[in-house]
Symmetry: C3
């Protein structure tokens, strides 16, 4: 009992940072696999990648759960509880949208991917790398300049993703005459676009934390 | 004025628990009706059920509103204000998705329901029963074991619902050649699936409350 | 440094109210343009309006960003930080849905708009006016009666919008045989309907603030 109280009272900053890093690393790996998915030639190979992403998603869920447990049983946290909650949820959201998009590729038996879908995945991939950088910078609030650079880059990626997405949907409506195919592809586009939105959300949460501590 | 202050200062735990129970009971009844809806033979009978669910949804809104008013005018709450807010909102979300799914059945003039839609409603129905159990357990934080059992069951139901949903959408895309019919049914599937997600969200909020108080 | 501390400690109520007013004014202007959009005859004129709305959306983003920065660097706020955050986010959501709906009109090359789409935009327009009134009333918590009247009106508009929306979607499914056209119009209807939902959400947040201060 006494041990439990002491543990709860002591700041466990390192533990939180480690868990955030683990979450970000998971997302980076899922992003790598997603990029690979759209370039893979056979359905068998694609299904294998989809399963690998799904495993990472489960690992991500477990990290999320550990952060929430930690949050609920710790008195002293490295920054505001609600910011930790928000950051964790948004990281989890990125992973969910990667996993959801990948799952649909396999479930909807898609075999061909428009060029703009591959480009959108590239942007997402780059944005995830920036998110990982930003999460790592959390350990040291002195590095304000680097933070700002990452925020700016993530925002640029999100704007670029937006444009690719809008153009892609308009093209889809114009060129694809099979409405069911339109529905399928549109859903995957939306999953990818929302994933880049969530990267921007992570950046916004981190910016909020940064402002409070600067 | 003095009365108002005293009332605001005194813990009104019972009041909150009663309102949560009322909200859960409403959802249970809506879940029962939804299950009946998909097994009913005539459009007239279905429209009647849809109206009954809509009445429950309005009652649910009123409970939600009362909890929020109570929350905003009470100083001492049985657990964290933001947890009460979240719990109330998620319960309301379950109801909204039941009502939305039922309403669409009537509005889109659907007459036949795929087997997997009925199965999904069964899972939702079972999950809602667990949610009600969990809400009742809130009154006594000593019952940790029972809590854990309910959380586990709700999670299992959610996973099962996920699988049924994904399979159902893939089947829909393969077998239903009428794209407008695909859009209609897909929307109802999504409403049902999101309702089971919201049951899991309620369980997660309750788990958070439980961890803080254990 | 000392200046910064003093600034942070002093209540900056007026600043917050000014920013809320700026956000509401932006939304009012976007709502006016949206109404105009659906009544405009040529694609060139429509594209011009879409661009004007997009400019307002960017201005809105900048106001949102300024409120969040202010919030994160101010110790004393005119009301609860989470209420300020929620109010700001919901106002931003209204704008995002106006901008999203307008953008789709241009992107999807739509040229004809159903009567119910115009009616939905009218309701949204009226609801936004009430939201602006409610935001202005924030400066003076004594005006409880006027607050209540605005809340009631916004709720009535939201119910009316709901009915128009449901009827419109059912009609769309019945009359429009081109599934891709159904998808396009349905998306715009949803954007407009969600914008009126967000007006109601703003009213709910404001009601919460009002209850706490009455």
């Amino acid at each position: 009992m006494f041990d439990k109280i002491v543990k709860a009272l002591l700041p466990s900053d390192h533990h939180f940072y480690d868990l955030f890093d683990e979450s970000a690393q998971n997302i980076v790996e899922a992003g790598n696999l997603l990029k690979k998915l759209f370039l893979t030639k056979t359905a068998t190979e694609r299904d294998k990648i989809v399963t690998q992403i799904s495993v990472l998603e489960h690992q991500g869920d477990s990290v999320t759960h550990r952060i929430f447990s930690e949050l609920n049983s710790t008195f002293v946290t490295p920054f505001d509880r609600e910011d930790i909650h928000m950051l964790t949820s948004r990281l989890d959201d990125i992973m969910d949208h990667i996993d959801g998009s990948a799952g649909r590729v396999s479930l909807y038996k898609l075999t061909k991917f428009p060029e703009s879908m591959i480009r959108l995945t590239d942007i997402l991939h780059l944005s995830i790398d920036e998110v990982q950088k930003a999460v790592r910078l959390l350990r040291d609030f002195e590095q304000g300049d680097q933070f700002q650079k990452v925020f700016k880059t993530v925002n640029e990626y999100e704007n670029e993703a937006d444009k690719i997405f809008e153009r892609a949907i308009a093209d889809l409506f114009e060129k694809e005459k099979n409405a069911i195919q339109v529905i399928k592809l549109k859903e995957i586009y939306q999953g990818l676009e929302t994933a880049t939105d969530m990267c921007e959300d992570v950046a916004n949460v981190l910016e909020g934390i940064y402002i409070k501590h600067s």
